[in-house]
């Protein structure tokens, strides 16, 4: 499943997340290859990035967000092919695709699109699915690849 798994001997030099108490459940689930997001039990708003309050337009919910498991499927909302990463650790990866993914449940996240073959295959609206990159024993990053039914 983890298409870009790092060899155990290789040191991972790229920046890793620094979870907060609020975001820790996301990374705990990621380690188990489960993609989760939050939904407000008061108003139903889908929320990402993780929070402890609800940003829903009519809602004043505090502590009202429940974790929900995503199907892991969505669409490419927009993307860029990056040739100039801010962090030197990504220099060896260029060109790579930085993307906004719109999940089927109606929430979005930033990630990388991988395993797409040619750049000509990229287009907004492309069906994608999560694929897990086990970058360290502590962290698995959700990345996305074209969804082949």
């Amino acid at each position: 499943m983890a298409a870009t798994q790092q060899p155990a001997t290789q040191v991972y030099t790229k920046p890793l997340p620094t979870p907060s108490s609020v975001s820790q459940p996301f990374w705990d689930a990621a380690k188990e290859h489960r993609l989760i997001f939050q939904r407000c039990r008061l108003c139903g708003t889908r929320v990402f990035y993780p929070r402890d309050i609800c940003p829903g337009p009519q809602c004043f919910g505090v502590g009202s967000l429940d974790w929900v498991e995503s199907t892991g499927k969505g669409r490419l909302y927009s993307y860029t092919v990056s040739y100039q990463p801010a962090h030197q650790a990504f220099a060896g990866d260029v060109p790579y695709v930085l993307a906004i993914i719109e999940m089927d449940e109606g929430w979005r996240m930033t990630s990388n699109l991988i395993n797409f073959g040619s750049q000509d295959a990229l287009r907004i609206g492309l069906r994608v699915e999560v694929v897990w990159d086990d970058v360290t024993p502590e962290f698995s990053l959700p990345k996305f690849q074209p969804f082949r039914q």
Partner: protein, 395 residues
Amino acid sequence: MPDTLRGAAVIVGIGELKPERSRPGRDVMSLLTEAAYRAIQDAGLTKEDIDGFVMDAGMEGASGFNTTMAEHMGIYPTFATGCDAQGAAGVTMALQAAAYVNAGLAEYVLCGMAAAIDTGGRRRPAAPTRTETSGSEFVVPFGPTVGANGNYAMIARRHEELYGTTVEKRAKIAVDLRYNANHNPMAIFHDTPITIADVVNSRIVADPLHLLECVMPCAGACAFVVTRADLAHGMRHKPAYILGGALGISRNNLQYVGEITVSPVGRAARKAFAMAGYGPNDVQVMEIYDSFTITVICELEDSGFCNKGEGGDWIQAHDLTFTGDKPLNTHGGQLSYGQASTAGGCAQVTEAVRQIRRDGGEHQVPGPTDLIYVTGSGGSFSQQGALLLGSDATL
């Protein structure tokens, strides 16, 4: 007191430092002080006349910035607040100052912002390695691009796929603005003309954005002085009235909510035009925040100069040079005048004042310059402002 700020305040002094790739040995306080001294002198005022500050510390400043600047300049106002508006600071500071003088909190308000960026000599912005904030924790591990390049590239990609706004269409903005810069000795790219082919063939920084569609980081400073309309009578320069203005605050992170090709300047523009009593068709000159080519296209659409999605074609149909039918970013814009980091947008306010005064010299718009529309943009379409400045003929 008027019900709104319309015509209540005037920008009476302007001062800028020429944007440079590097200003060795100069820090933000030094650069901002020099620009402020120029603005105060341009207004014909003394340091003692200044009783209000609105300054934005920008990317490099610290907490307590206004008192730091007071001490540094030897000016001790009786009302001072910060501004925290990133690239929208020029427009935001002008409106804050207008509100202050109109409310009697101060009479002569000094506004300003600077960027030194590279006091150590290295030009490349520091890589964002922090991953503990709400936004960065879910971005940095995936390899963000330098600055806002990636976010605006994703805006441009989506605009291109939805509306066909290709690089060939976007490039005209860079070329027309460069022509303006070629006639402005203060512009960092004064001496280098470019063509559409140069833009299209420049290297891709973050696809689909090419190098010549992106601003270049540089050092600089910009300041201006705002006073009450009745106090402006008899001062040195032809007054530039604040006729209307508003801000639009959106999300901090681009990716999570909303249509990313829609900028919050639309909300600001509607309020600003309503306050001023004018519409987009009345505008004679535009100073539109231009961090990237695509930024201008979205702002033109959302401000009401054309329909959503038609910005690329609108650009083709008009001559944006200072001698053209739709003069835009007459100083060269941030793309070609220079972007002193988040202070870059302030020069679009001072350029509008210069055009109203008819002091543009070689790049003075030959046609009427009585009503000018100015925008500012911070973050990635995160906070934006719209400002209408006018001569006494527009009151």
